[in-house]
Amino acid sequence: MSTSTGSAGTRRVNVAAARRRQALADGWKEFARNRAGLAGLIILLAVIALAAVIPLFAPASVLDVTQVTAGRNEPPSLANPLGTDPAGRSVLALLIWGARISLVVGFAATLVSMVIGTVMGMAAGHFTGVTQAVLMRLIDFFLVVPGLVLAIVLSSIIGPGIATIVVAIGVTSWAGTARLVRSQTLTVEARPYIERAWALGASDAHVIGRHVLPAVMPLVLANTTLTVGSAIIAESTLAFLGLGDPSSVSWGGMLKSALDTGAATGGYWWYVLPPGLAIVLVVLSFTLVGRALESVINPTLRGR
């Protein structure tokens, strides 16, 4: 029980804000107890910071094949810690520049996927009758249909490019979120406090906005971090299959050119290993952060 007995409105607001701050602080404490999640978060922050400041140290011109100074496929050296690519560019510079595209595409595709998934999931859980049947069918369809193949189809039709990849991944990956959000919506709506809200005279908008959305958001947030990871893998896969933007550098694109130019079979490991390891590291970090968030939200998952 709060000790506040103040009657001033500001006092109440302060107490409510304090409660929210306290909840956030508790959540952070719980998150920080998960060491793997914390490590993931630190790695992600480091990668994001690196990708943000790279133009200061290695301007975009280093990516220009016409301005290279080093030889082709040079092994790692002091000048080029990760060697050079088949065009003579520094692999390290490519790697960090590539992080920008991979992260931006990952986040943007996730945003598309989350918005579609949350709206569809809440609608499918909230409404009944025909609306629900149609939405359920649509979710089921996108859940079952092979996402990568559909993404290939979409992006090969729209034509290669970053926006294409974002749309293709976003449109094919929302169904899992929708399924999750729907079941959470159903759980929330089965609670008597929703019945109480109806009896108080609530409208659909009130029930969704005041009760369902706040209950669904934490789950969506945790799911978002997990989805960013999958989206980065999907991005690299599409780029590897030649659907990426050929004019920009991404991790998937680097691996594709490694395969195309024979770097992979020629033993130039410094051009094959780093992009892959970068993907694994970043995706793993997102996954660890997502799992840690999940356990903060759902205490029964703790220790899993």
């Binding site: 249909v145 290939i152 993907i279």
Partner: protein
Amino acid sequence: MSNALSAADLVPGEPALDEPPRASSWLRYAALKAGGAVISLVMVVLLGFFAFRILPGDPVRSLAEGRRVSAEQMELLREQLGFNDPLLTQFLRYLADLAQGRLGYSYTYSEPVLNLILDRLGPTLLLTGTAALISVVLGLWLGQRAAWHRGSLFDKTQTGLALVFWSVPTFWLGLILLLVFGGGLHWFPTGGLVTAGTTATGLPLLWDVARHMVLPVVTMVAVVYAQYLMVMRASLLEEMTSDYLQTARAKGLREDLVRRRHAVPNALLPTVTLIFLTLGGLVGGAVTVETVFSWPGLGLLTFQALSAPDFPLLQGTFVVFSSIVIVMNFLADLLYRFLDPRLRAA
């Protein structure tokens, strides 16, 4: 003790108070699921058609991209492909063709798409089937062990390993395996279904195929088993708090029997659902793995159709891949009803 309240009923119709739920008919369930599958198939067919006609891109221009094609030639191509007909005419033609099993004509292979797909179906089923089987067995076994010994060294290493594998892009793992075991160590062949130019039959042929399968199968399993492990582990952990396990322990069952007879069968049910729902992911894996290892299956065909680009072929592989997954999911729904007695009353 009075008899007034013994099992003998005083009030007529008393059993209705304490009536068990009724079972629903198997046929209705199957019909419901079949209806859902049919709707999904229709949606695949519609998507297969309209995606290639309505989306902002121009298939003919993408087709011509990077080649020297004059405007007249492009117009001719449009005419040939029937893109100049009204949409409805095109659609009806597409449906009529589909009804007769025709999926169009590949312009890179100059062959009916259906023939190409049928040729490549076998190797894909062989590869994905083998990989799926191994992944399921491995993932479920490791998952249930990890859950039961939660927090142990086994759990920590297995969960950690699974999370790492889950974060690995399939194609990259394939590339690494190719580099190390194929290119570097020469332990396994690096591509294809059989050694080029082989005339072997019988057992030697099987041996040859098996050797070619090792790397692609390992690649797929590594990525896929991890998901199954995590799902099985989470599912069993969920089940481990159930009251009926307490009943089983109270009866005097040993812990391993409590796990094998009671917890695992229940934990398997949600896992099976999720495994079938991720079949689409397995197909996605087939595309990249087949591409990396030049495995002559549908996945490689998809990649070839995409690089050409050959839209009738791409449309065909999309329709076939999706249909296979939809039908498999329908079969899974039927199977699931046998596995879970509770569904029979739903």
